[in-house]
Symmetry: C2
Subunit: 112 residues, 2 copies
Amino acid sequence: MGLIDTNLMRGFSPDKLGKLSVFDTAQMFCDVYCLEPGQSQKPHAHAGATKFYFVIEGEPTLVVGAQQSVLRPGGLAWAAPGEVHGVANHSPARAVLLVAMGPSPNHATSPK
Amino acid sequence: MGLIDTNLMRGFSPDKLGKLSVFDTAQMFCDVYCLEPGQSQKPHAHAGATKFYFVIEGEPTLVVGAQQSVLRPGGLAWAAPGEVHGVANHSPARAVLLVAMGPSPNHATSPK
């Protein structure tokens, strides 16, 4: 458990989008994603897991299934198991998102 | 799946804190909590589920275990299974939080 100021969690890289772990349990992980202009996470899907993106800063483009939209801070995109999702920063400014997925794939004891 | 503007999800009640469902799958639910000054969710725990609160607006007081702190927007509090957590708005302004928990207790098919 913990109390965390995510405003302090920023990690941008010229190579690829930055992912900073807020927490990670068998039931759920939570990350902060940091995207420079032009960076993206390709659309993909997870069997058995639900995931969402919540925009903290910037105007990233979110994809879920056949839907695609530029979201502003407060915008949220979510995908149920098997549903395609992704994010791309086509804007000229940096984008920061809170991302959570449950269950986490990072634990041997994760629920199936 | 969906693309949602959580800025439009506000529901305050004089009686108790408002909870608006953003989505709810077996693996995870996500709500927006709206607290008038003086309102709270009593500290409690969930066996088998991880939960977090992310402050969108206001300066609510978050409790996890023996820790307690006033968080500002961008502040996050999380609790692993069995860990006590709660939120109270001791400030003079409204507070809004994004809340997610996995697995969701609202599905007969929820992972155990």
